[in-house]
Amino acid sequence: MSDALLSVRGLEAGYGGSQVLFGVDLDVGCGEVVSLLGRNGMGKTTTVLSIMGLLPTRAGEIRFAGRAMTCQAPFRIAQAGIGLVPEGRQVFPTLTVEENLIATASNRGGRAAPWTLERVYGFFPRLAERRRNYGDEISGGEQQMLAIGRALMTNPKLLLLDEATEGLAPLTRQEIWDRLAALKRDGLSILIIDKTIEALLVLADRHVILEKGRSVWSGSSRALADDPVTRDRYLSV
């Protein structure tokens, strides 16, 4: 798919002496939601860090919005339009909820109807109630909403979500899934990692499975739902 928004080819990366990724291929088209699946330690987070430029790429190519992004600084990749919601959420504890949203806000793509403070508060009303609290004074679910809101405030073309609902209460999870579905209806492209395959089968258009640092399967939700062998082989614990 040459007109993909994000295209990763033959990506290899690792930490120090140990290589983790040995060849990851994936595409995310405009307005498409793609999930990155695989058991723990198969390289999902490493893939996210490499796409974001937070981990140096050893081989392969990353293209975003038609530009080569391999070996670019993280801030340039973010400025090109990738909004990161990292594993562990990583909201700034030294800033209030509102400051977390404002501090890195931008609209570099010149979006006509950009994400603003009011729009994020409308999207996540609980953040509005907590606007004066510091980042470490709110619940895990609120932190996840804040991390998503913070990424949306950079008005990204692609949202990169690592562990979208990990460690959250069931009700909060459902709220996050609802909000992600709303973002999809809005036309936002999303690359998402999560352990809840049932929810991902509903939300995502396509899925890419990683096994030992390689992408070994990719296909639609229908194909994955109809393929218990693949699910069993790569995803069951």
Binding site: Q79, L84, F92, T94, L95, A103, T104
Partner: protein, 308 residues
């Protein structure tokens, strides 16, 4: 002891404290946000004083000298960051300490070559050289009030800047997580350069302001640097509020200790041992304070990593 003397020494301590704050503010931001130990921060203070003297010789006006020395300090700080320090961010603390110590040696020699080893002075203008009556029979120099006033205004401005501007938010966020800031599209190197240049200018401002009341000489930044480190350790590394409170504490305790420790000891000791122990104890005062703070609150009074 007379109250008037205590009052004078309190003001002296306050004046010393705000100067320490101006130096410590840049040091704590650079250390807290960039995790960079910059021993060369003290030479920025020395250079501020020398630049004030140099511009005074050029212009003949104290105010023009001060107005020119500030941007010159900023430019020098930026140049130092781009030429030397920028390359040290990714190195470990030992490399940073060694390299910036080298910068100290280089610049202390440098000012000797340019301005000579003899101490220089800067004359105060008529307008600031008088004194004001504090109470019956007690006058206090106007210029020291000016220093206190400028220091407190800068502290207030810095507080507003750090708490109410986007760069201030990024500075506070940077004290806990710089990688996340860059992953959200902020050029962290540019932020570092801004913070560094700003810190250098504040240290330069302190140097400009002491030029008329201290002798301007090579190495004058070294003593201040040590005190500034004491201040940021007490206050909590990366915290402007901590630096402010700690600088005033250190300034007042050090000044009062040196003035009254001997007299205080004479209340409980004979005169001769009191004269011996007093000064020794006084010069230890701030280090005892630092040890006490570290024992009770190892991250300082206002740890920035949690919340500033």
């Amino acid at each position: 002891m007379p109250t008037s003397l205590v009052l004078v020494q309190l003001f002296n301590g306050l004046q010393f404290g705000v100067l320490l704050f101006l130096v410590a503010a840049g040091l704590t931001l650079v250390f807290g946000v960039m995790d960079f130990i910059n021993l060369a921060h003290g030479v920025q203070y020395m250079l501020g004083a020398y630049l004030a003297v140099a511009f005074y010789r050029l212009t003949g006006s104290f105010f023009a000298a001060a107005a020119l020395a500030l941007p010159a300090s900023l430019l020098f700080g930026l140049a130092l960051e781009v030429v030397v320090l920028r390359h040290l961010y990714v190195r470990d603390h030992l490399s940073q300490v060694l390299a910036t110590f080298g910068v100290i040696l280089f610049l202390n020699e440098g000012v000797k070559i340019v301005w000579g080893a003899a101490p220089l002075n800067l004359a105060l203008p008529e307008l600031l050289s008088g004194s004001v009556p504090l109470m019956e029979g007690l006058r206090y120099p106007v210029y020291r009030f000016v220093i206190i006033g400028v220091g407190l205004s800068v502290a207030g401005g810095l507080y507003l800047f750090v708490n109410h501007t986007r760069i201030g938010m990024l500075v506070r966020a940077g004290a806990s997580n710089t990688a996340m800031i860059s992953a959200l599209g902020v050029d962290i190197k540019r932020l570092f350069t801004i913070v560094f240049g700003f810190g250098a200018m504040l240290a330069g401002l302190a140097g400009v302001m002491v030029a008329p009341i201290l002798s301007v000489e090579p190495g004058m930044g070294d003593q201040v640097l040590i005190l500034a480190f004491v201040v940021i350790v007490i206050g909590g590394i990366g915290s402007i509020r901590g630096a402010f409170v700690a600088a005033l504490l250190v300034g007042v305790i050090d000044t009062l200790g040196r003035s009254f420790m001997t007299d205080a000891l004479r209340l409980v000791l004979p005169a001769s041992p009191a004269r011996m122990i007093g000064p020794a104890l006084a010069s230890m005062g701030i280090y005892l304070l630092m040890a006490a703070v570290l024992a009770l609150r190892p991250a300082g009074l206002f740890p920035a990593k949690g919340r500033a």
